[in-house]
Chain length 222, copies 2
Amino acid sequence: MQIQSITMDAKSPSKRQSRGRNPRGQGERLREEIVAATLRMLNDLGDDQALSLRAVARETNVAATSVYLHFPDRDALVLAALERCHQNLMLAVQQAELTEEGPVAQLRGRTLVLGAWAHDHPGLYKVLHESTLNQHADMRFKEELGRTTTAAVQRCMDAGLAPTDDASRVALDLRAAVHGAVSMRVNQPDQPWPPLEDQIDRFLCKLVGVSPAPTPTETTGE
Amino acid sequence: MQIQSITMDAKSPSKRQSRGRNPRGQGERLREEIVAATLRMLNDLGDDQALSLRAVARETNVAATSVYLHFPDRDALVLAALERCHQNLMLAVQQAELTEEGPVAQLRGRTLVLGAWAHDHPGLYKVLHESTLNQHADMRFKEELGRTTTAAVQRCMDAGLAPTDDASRVALDLRAAVHGAVSMRVNQPDQPWPPLEDQIDRFLCKLVGVSPAPTPTETTGE
DNA sequence: CTCGTAAGTGAACAGCTGTAGCGCTACGAC
DNA sequence: GTCGTAGCGCTACAGCTGTTCACTTACGAG
């Protein structure tokens, strides 16, 4: 039903502020603007296939062909944006890990921040983890998330704060559960979901076997 | 100026088998064929936005305009197909539930079948649960899945086979975890995932608190 | 056989898309 | 002041899309 042909050309009245060209040697700045616009639009759309190179160019106040000065084609643009996007996410997660003390609080912190990030950037979360790009493009950079999660779980086990087990398997279970909880909320934002924090704490408790911070009941002393 | 009627559509060699029109009163049969083609293509694409009405018409060997005899517009077509798709899924789940005995086996059976269905129809699973249609269209028919899952969990609790708790909350946790596990596999099919069955059994055990059938290790003697 | 009508077509409109090739223009070293 | 070139724009092509309207064909009741 949605009409998306709003005739946004608007060529006559407020055509384009021409954006002023960058000074010599600073041509790479346009690349940054394009990536930023791409991320904004991908977040709004929640689907990479729906993003057109021309729309990105319009949003950047630039001719469509100027995008080709920095990216060989549309797919390369989207991929570059997603790689930057993933970097941002990993940075947030790592920062959360650094500000917490103790392996359990660190695992909990990084997981909560991941949930919060998804809540703040639902469209990007969708594109990053649920777009068909995952099947057709090389997104190996995403493996980092799996590795660091496993490491965080392993640290809990090493400290005796979680029952020793196959850390990568436990981490996978946790990741799946959290991704599922986040995905449901991202895809059906109007549903009356209970607090994500509580759900994550339950997953940490039941799947990993740690007792999340506030009430530090001892684990079974061994 | 330019004459643009050069395209010609490849009319001569292998255009269309004409499909033969339906007998009087059987016009609804085309509707079935169109829905079936839509589901096939959605499963291949894994994204509703990528499906074009014209492509569906081509796949059905029918003129594009003939689709409008049965659906008011493209979105209505996709929605009708997804509703049928959901019916099929629910049918499979309910059948699995009927062939099992005992609340735990039933809960396990329905969950495993859901996972198997997603494995067999990855694209449809994506469209059904992860497409942007969820945000823009009315897909309330999906609520059925939540209700029946909660009911299945409740039956386990009532039978004393799972610790009594808020059944809808436990069911939501289970659903989230399973959806996450399935979603990761569907979106990155080339990753080396461990068996889904085992993961589901762990979720049933750790999140719901039941002990899945085959190896009947006793619950902690009480 | 006649003929209303159910079933399906064809052409056209207005818009969108990715991409190629060539053209411009203003900055800044000289 | 000159002038190479970095930084970007314009036009065009070939193709796709959803949707509308007028049109045809063939079935089957009478």
